[in-house]
Amino acid sequence: MDQLVDTGVERKTKPSKSYPMMGNEAIARGVWEAGARVCAAYPGTPSTEIMENLATYPREDLVAEWATNEKTALDIAIGASFSGVRAFAAMKHVGLNVASDSLMSQSYIGVNGALVLAVCDDPGIHSSQNEQDTRLFAKFAGVPILEPSDAQEALDFTRKAFDISEEFDTPVIVRSSTRLSHTRSVVCQGNRTEVEAREFNNDIAKNVMIPAHARSRHPKVLQREGHVIEYLNKSDLNKVRKSSKKFGVITVGLVATYVEEVLPDASILKLASSFPLATDLVADFMKSVEQVVVVEELEPVIEDQLKVLGYKIEGKKYFSRDGEHSPATIRLGLEQCGFIESSGKSQPLSAEAIARPPLLCAGCPHITSYMALNGVNARVAGDIGCYTLAAIEPLHAIHTTVAMGCSIANAIGMAQSGNETRPVVATIGDSTFLHSGIPPLIDAVYSNANITVLLLDNHITAMTGGQDHAATGRSLRGEDTTRIVFADLCRTLGVKWVREVDSYDVGTLFRTVREATEYRGVSVVISNRPCVLDPTKIRGEPVEVRTEKCTGCQSCMNLGCPAITWDEEMYDGQHKVTIDPTKCIGCSICTQVCPVDGIRPVKNS
């Protein structure tokens, strides 16, 4: 499609001034180039790097900050838009669930300064709890969604999204996916356009969504859809190539690159947007070919709209709704619908693969917390974070995980069910607690639920790679800010039983968890120990096994520490253990767990 590339964005730098950029970097660049002034996000794989990159642009150009959750991020951006500057929020797909309350109304309100959201989907569920399709949300909210297919388009589409937002008085979503966000390819960059701030538009019929106003805004949302369709019909963000008169493909976003890979030079209509649909372009394309398939990742969003319009097309019949696509799945689909012949490839090579699931790190402060919960035989409602890994071997200590901030209210429900004989415990990380754990804790106090909350405070948002939050006392740009103190916060919310404990002190932790679960009412244990990776990589003197003492009881292996594996030497049919000194950080947990005092620091040997 080279000959068709014309994104309509004015390029002030020469193409030679181009760099390989991750999709997320390119989105950030697009936001900066578009002249955005206020940007907020809550970290979430695969979207995290967008805001981290925005923070690398000068603070005179834009405000870039971590918000407490995705809804506050979007609300901050909405506020900035009200005040007439270009605003931006980024989140992962499930983050939009949290922010959707605001998005639904903001669609009615529209914008003053442009309002753009970048939402990163995770087809294949590489690092999420589901693989919902954000395009359905766009349709639900009546908000246009732009879908770039590579890093260059990520920059160009993002930049363009701000113009569309202001021209059509609508929030605009830019949709990325794990594959696009985390692929580096060459990007030709532009300069920043300074956009003059608009005055506050003091029109309460537009800005204040009481029923009477909302009733007058809904028809405007529907009309707007028509206007955006007209725009898209003429937009060169869409690309079309007409070659074969027999077969044609309608596609969108990253999967378009797979189609090009498998079926180069095919008749193809690559749409910039699944909602709204550029209907004239589609009609024109449909006329030019006999048989058309729709190739899109996840849900049949385009396919369903085309079928409603009465077109005879196929899509999900050949290309799965489930999981991430690849050139292989696209090839298979195109073979099945007769567009290409079966390639009859030779037998692939094969070998036995071993299981290598992700693990809590050596020295992870979460490990002992979950051992302690096993010790009191607790029913554990888990939450989202690294510690979700405690659900699997060998800790087996989490019994439910739903979504961000669900643990505490889930625990309340378990306790209220009257059907639970084990002590009910909610475990929640520091960042997740701030994100959406506070209202349910208020609920627990309010209903005097008999639960224990184990607040795993490792002083960072660890799972997404170490981002600051309100309880680290540092901003995204590294400045000191007011620090939220968890113990004070919990007491203020009305929790009577609050204790802090160092989770490396195994005995005290066990005792504290026991006392907390024996307390009738809401108790909060704050396990206080920094993450071993972020913000500072912690390394101490490694420990080693005194092989002559080891009885192969494997108590230490129950920690799931990646540094501990079997030794070649045996004791009564059981492997003794060995500790890899290059992985061990000397946290001392295993030395405290060993029943025969068989582990000691290397330097003492």
Binding site: T257, S346, R356, C553, Q554, N558
Partner: protein, 297 residues
């Protein structure tokens, strides 16, 4: 390498430098005037999981990922990861390059029955090199340790891979210098050249494998716990200390073993009981039954 796209798949375990290696290759190819796409999935990478990165370059690159069975080079920084991704290698012409070092996940050591061997890839370098179109396997981690920094293993492998391309060694070194810490530039330079040198006399390494058969003639033992109820005062020590959590106190506050199958026979309960109320017996299982038991595990 003129018009067609070259596909390189780089794999390993979190923390080994898969992303660093792929960034070096991607930047080099871009400097040489190719279009490059480099795609990775991270998030789980730090947590000891499998990590992979696709690098594709050519005149025009569409898909960021390599179609199955079309990798021209598979570069594995760890042996079992090389096995995991082997099906992605082009069976007719792909080049396989792998470190023979083993990073054993704790999961490989989870079976607690007697006389187990860790679950790890059984294929030997000789078997794999026989299967692939062309390939190299070597103890790069060992070579790097000899050079003075085991972390330079990935640069040795880069050196080996560099012989598959027409790019000048100095071009590689210029880029490597950008990505490694300042104080290790020299050792990485040596490591890169060592890799190129090694290829000239490439050999198939002898690798020690875990022998599945070594316990074949050992008798199978069953763990039987004897509990003397009237000596137990319900102090709970054994219940708390059992690493497998097989024990429980019953309503009469006497210890019981509801999960006898989980018992590994470690004897901690026996040693810790202040009242000598719990004893472990290892009972040899008759041969026919033992065969069934082995099959079950």
């Amino acid at each position: 390498m003129a018009d067609r796209v070259t596909n390189v798949l780089i794999v390993g375990v979190g923390g080994q430098g898969v992303i660093m290696v792929s960034k070096v290759l991607a930047l080099l190819c871009q400097r040489q005037g190719f279009e490059v796409k480099q795609s990775e999935v991270h998030g789980m990478a730090k947590r000891g999981g499998a990590v992979f990165s696709h690098v594709r370059f050519g005149k025009k690159v569409h898909s960021p990922t390599i179609p199955t069975g079309e990798a021209d080079i598979l570069l594995a920084l760890e042996w079992a990861e090389g096995m995991r991704w082997l099906e992605n290698l082009n069976p007719e012409s792909g080049v396989f390059i792998s470190d023979t070092q083993k990073i054993m996940p704790p999961f490989a050591c989870r079976n607690r029955s007697r006389n187990q061997v860790p679950i790890y890839s059984r294929e030997t370098p000789a078997e794999i090199l026989d299967k692939v179109a062309s390939g190299y396997a070597l103890d790069a981690a060992g070579l790097a340790t000899d050079l003075g920094n085991e972390r330079a293993a990935n640069t040795i492998l880069l050196g080996i891979m560099s012989t598959a391309f027409d790019f000048e060694p100095q071009d590689w070194l210029d880029i490597i210098e950008k990505f490694v810490p300042k104080n290790s530039v020299e050792i990485n330079r040596q490591a890169f050249l060592e890799g190129r040198e090694w290829v000239k006399n490439a050999s198939i390494p002898e690798v020690v494998t875990y022998d599945d058969k070594r316990f074949e003639n050992e008798s199978v033992m069953r763990n039987e716990l004897e509990i003397i109820p009237h000596w137990c005062k319900g102090c709970d020590i054994c219940v708390r200390m059992c690493p497998e959590q097989c024990l429980e106190l019953n309503d009469a506050q006497v210890v019981e073993i509801p999960r006898a199958d989980d018992c590994t026979g470690c004897r901690i309960c026996e040693w810790l009981c202040p009242d000598f109320a719990i004893k472990l017996h290892k009972v040899a299982v008759p041969s026919e039954i033992s065969k069934e038991l082995v099959l079950e595990t």
